[in-house]
Amino acid sequence: MNNFEAVVLLSPEISSNVRSSCLDFLVKIINEKSGKIINNEDWGLRDISYKIDRYSKAFYNFYQIEIEGDKIESIKKTLNQDENFIRHLFVRVEKHQELPTKLNNEKK
């Protein structure tokens, strides 16, 4: 088991119900692969500095995960097939940082 960080961008056009169901779907996949979510954080609607799939804004969500490394590839595959997920990033870290992240403090 290793520590991972995940950032997910969701499209700004979908309603809040669909958005929450999308995030539940992500959590469900991770739990299926015998991983567990330690922390999550909602960064809200932010401006993207360039256009991604014609959107100039997106909903950011941040997760701290503990999961086996070779299972991440199958998670990425399922996320690529979903249209509501614009972009995603998985990064392996040695140790999880304390929340809240510096990005959120700066915004306030």
């Binding site: 990064v91 992240t101 700066e106």
Partner: protein, 92 residues
Amino acid sequence: MKKNKKFKSRSRDDNKNSPFEDRKKFCPFSQKNSPIIDYKDVKLLNRYISEKGKITPSRITNVSRSKQLELSKAIKRARFLGLMSFTNKHFY
């Protein structure tokens, strides 16, 4: 040997204002309480890119080789997520 001894005895503050000072440059990330490089900390990363949005070379910012590798990786991750831009073209 004598020259070295003299150099050691002088502290850094003594020749702070002299125009011929040879103050030692140091890496801003290798000190004891220096900040951790992270792709989410956009405010810190913005200091190490040029006006056009390029990564500044380490010979200008004095970042050490290993930390420069970390820094460039963090900037590229932030760009991928749209937290930073690849190009700043607003002044044209």
